[in-house]
Each structure stands twice: as structure tokens, then as C-alpha cells.
Symmetry: C2
Subunit: 335 residues, 2 copies
Amino acid sequence: MKKIGNSTYKTEKNPSITYFASAVGEKEGQGPLGQYFHKVFLDMYMGETTWEKAESRLQKTVAQMVLNQSKKQAKDIDLIFAGDLLNQCTASAFGMKDMNIPYMGQYGACSTMIQSIISAVTAIESGGASACLCVTSSHFCSAERQYRYPLEYGGFRTPTAQWTVTGAGGCLLEPSGAGQTVSYIVPGKIVDLGIKDANNMGAAMAPAAADTISAFFRDTSTTPQDYDMIFTGDLGAVGSKLLAELLRKDGYETEGRHKDCGAMIFDCEDKQVCAGGSGCGCCASVLCSYILKSMEKKELNNVLVAATGALLSPTTSGQNQSIPGIAHLINIVNL
Amino acid sequence: MKKIGNSTYKTEKNPSITYFASAVGEKEGQGPLGQYFHKVFLDMYMGETTWEKAESRLQKTVAQMVLNQSKKQAKDIDLIFAGDLLNQCTASAFGMKDMNIPYMGQYGACSTMIQSIISAVTAIESGGASACLCVTSSHFCSAERQYRYPLEYGGFRTPTAQWTVTGAGGCLLEPSGAGQTVSYIVPGKIVDLGIKDANNMGAAMAPAAADTISAFFRDTSTTPQDYDMIFTGDLGAVGSKLLAELLRKDGYETEGRHKDCGAMIFDCEDKQVCAGGSGCGCCASVLCSYILKSMEKKELNNVLVAATGALLSPTTSGQNQSIPGIAHLINIVNL
């Protein structure tokens, strides 16, 4: 691939998403995108004994669906790129450990799915890999007890708090030109404007999203109007508004051209989910359902997907540190 | 790059380690490799107010030393690959957040440095990147309180327990052919033989190391005798013995050809460190000091470095899960 401008890379081997699958929990299944998901689990344990094992089950489920669709076996896959929000990324390690495929653990918080796809695209562009699997997940219950309070505590949520999506998305990247092709990638920089409210991550991540998206428009001399839609990972309602303002300051009007996976996945009348969904499984499950299915049907032909991540931990928040944000972007086209 | 056999990739653009730096704590500075480190901190806080911030300081220190040596500025670096052991990889995010360089967070437990170098090599081989920075770290105090007990508790250690290294290593990869060249890479598979003792990670990781190293010998039709030395990341004394036995079963004799970074970094008479050092900073600081300096002096000209990782978390151990191991390998040569 070739570097263009300061931050963007143009692919040259047609790295394409040839197969994809998504699996979510009941709440996501009942949401506006319910019909698009490949599998909806009605039980939050998904047949396992703990929520953490359930999250690994989500990853295994989508990985197996992708392999089944592709009629490939483990030995046909060169690399797995996977990640999640659990401490030491164990949902992925335990989800993928029996696959018998070389494994590269990724961590970009809620941006991990797009970071994984960027890594897979790079491996294909290197000439070395010819099939890479990307999988990421999150689970409301495993995240809630790790990051916030035991669920039994029943704590109230602030209006800006996002709801961790129970879901996983998985996809296969091949240098085929069939399927949906990743034509540009933009690995993002960490942006930290000093926001410290861990219940308002949309505000912490929006500047990073604006930074990456603006860089892409500058590097490619394009504007929002050149794309069918710009999807962000999980800025939610609050962060989305902020992103529009920031891009407007850079001279880019996104009115009618921007949707946020976190805002799309839940019913906005549902007070419980407040500002929208989040988690590594949010962008992953929406990409590997609604977005790619809409591209297959040619309802969308040229989209940007910019997943955002908040690179904090309970420890850094406890030590009164700010929340660094990051956003990685890919441009997917129907060739 | 080109895939060779089942697991190995041969590089084609001479991706080379052109600059490197290491920084460690006082205990490591007093150990057998003390003279090789670029910087020894005598204070475990390194001028910061918390151990977690101190670990980020280690990363900043080595990154800045590498940039200074190379006379490059942030804008000359395409990508950072970094990782650590803290929850949500925050030592890296906070260490690298002000660099203003695109950032890809890596997680492979103690194998993260070699995973990062593999990612950097892949980015260079893709033709897209021309300078990538790799940095990983660990800190005894931040790890101990996150993984085991508050230090004040003064818990006894089992004889097989390893001691988390306080240290970081950083290096710059460029397609130059100058410096030390990464000629082959092997991204490892997760191997889980059911070991559950979190105080005996060497035993959990040795099968993964054997799997990756054997795969490399098979794919390249070489033997241990073709290399000046095989370095493993941090199997420690217990895991090293096990690795030798496992490789012998595969027909490879490593007697006199194998050293373990975890066993090298501390004085083996020091009862406190028991089975040796571990952590993302162990392999990183030994690679970016003793190993690469020995190669510069032509005392070593052709080495394998296989870093191992134990992909567990306190939660998975608490849920009685086994410890999945992984090992990533690179072959570094003086051209």
C-alpha cells in the first residue's frame, strides 16, 4: 500500500471483506437493527457459567459462522486479529484459543474492530497473508462489573452514560476484490483534550474522531458529500453532536451524512440506554450486519467507518487522569 | 513478504532495527545485564506520583531516547506499536499519548514486544510505513498490586513464581538494511495444555514457545545449530528446562544455544526473584540492550528471539480457567 498525505494509506491488493457475521444479546436483538444480526442470544449467559465465558462464546460464535460461510478451515486462515474490553483481553484469548490459528491481540478500546481490520489489511498488503479473521466483542454484564458496579447494586446512570453492547462481529479479509473492498485506511493518533468524566466518553472521543476523519478528507481531497455515509463507532448522541461541530470548524458539513453505531443499535426512546451503545462489540456488530448487508444490497456503495476508543481504565480515572481518545478509519467500497 | 511453510514469513524489504533504547529499575540495573541498559532509575516512582504513571514514564523515556538517537521527529514516524500488562493497556496509552503519532495498541502479555515488532515489520513490508516505533513496558509495583497482593501485604512467593521486571524497551524499525535486520517472523498460535497454576507461568508458556520455535525450524529447514543463540522472552528457569525437553522431543537439541531473558536479567542467587523475571518489559529491555548491543559488536550475528506470553487474567484464574500461552518469534541477522 501507499502512504498518501500525512495519515492515510491507499491499498493496492483489493483487500476485501468476503464474509462476515454478528451475534448479539436480546436487548440488541430487539433494537432497530434486530433484523440484520445473524444470531440473537436470549440468555445473557449464552449457555456458559459466567458472563466472561459468555463473551468468549460470542466471539467463537461469529468466528465459526464466518468460517462456515467461507467453507474454509483453520489451516486456510493466516492470522486472527482480535480484542475486547476485559482486563488482559481475555474474552478474545479464551474465545480464539482453540482455533489453532496464529493470533495477534489488539487493544484500541471500542475502536478495536477497525484497528483489527487495519492490521489485517496491512498483513494482506505485505504480500504475506491471504486470509485474516478479525473478531471483537463486548458484553454488558462482564463490562459493567469490571468497570462500574456489581449489577446487583442497581446504581443510577447519568444521562451521558453509554450502555455497553452485548455483541460480537467477525469478518474475513482476503485479497480478492470480491465482496466489499477496503480502499483506504487511517490509523489514528491519540487525542486528549483533558476530559475526565468517565460517564461522558462520547465527549472524550469526539475530538479523536474529528482528527482522524478530517485528516482523511485532507489527504484524499474529498468531502463528506463524496461518501454515502460516515459511520462512527460509538460516540453516542452527545459525542455525535460534538463531532459535527468539530468537523464543521474544519470546513466539513456532515449533516445527513453521519450515523453513529452506538446511536443506531438501541431505541432512542429507551431511557435506560441514555446516550447510546458502546463497547468493542458495538461497531463490530453493526459493521458486520447492517453496514455490510446494506453494501451487499448496493443500498450503500462507498462508506467511511471510524471507530472510536477511550483509552482509560478505572485505575487511571481513580488517579484523576484525563481520558485519551483514539479513532481508526477505513473506507469501504463496492468495486 | 512471503509465507514459507505453515507459519513463517520471510521479509523482502530489509526491515531493520536502526535505533534502540532500554530503561530499567534499580534491581535490574544491579543485575548481570546492568552495564547494557541505557538508563537505570533508582526511584521506583521515577519522579511521578504513582507506579502506573512511573510505568508510562519508562515508555516515554525509551521512546524519547530512540527519537533523539535517530534525530527524527514525531512527524517522521508512521506508526507506534505499544503494549503493557496494565488493565486496558494504559501504561502505553498514557506513555505515548502526547507523541502525536498514529498508535496501534498491542496485547500479547509478555510476548508483546515481539508482537509489536512483527506488526511493525508487516507495516514496512506492506510498502506503506517507512518508520515504526515499538515500545513495551512492565513495572514490578504496578503489576504486583494489580495481579497479586498490595505490596504492603508482604505475601510469600512460591519457588516457581516469576518477578515482574521494571523496565521498558523501545526500538525503531526502518526498511534500511542498516542496523540489525528482521529476516523472518513467526506469529504464534495460542497453546493451552490445561496448566492452571498462575504462579508457574513458565510451565504454561513453554509449550507455546516449543510450538512456535519448532514451526520455524520446520518451515526454514534449519536447526538450533544454525543460530548463534535462541533467546526466549521470559520462561524463567522452570519453563526453560521444559522448553529444552519439548524441543528435544521434536528432534531439536538446544543445549548451549538457548538463553532466557527472564533468567538473564536477575542474579540467580537472588532468592527473591525465584524462577526469573517476567513482564512485557523483560524481553523488551533485554532485546534493546544486551542482545542488540551484542549484535552491533558482532558478538552475535544471527539470533532468534521468541517472546512468550501467558494470556490469563485474575478473573479467568478466579473462574478456574487454564492458562493459554503464546509465543511470537523473530529472526534477527547482521546483514
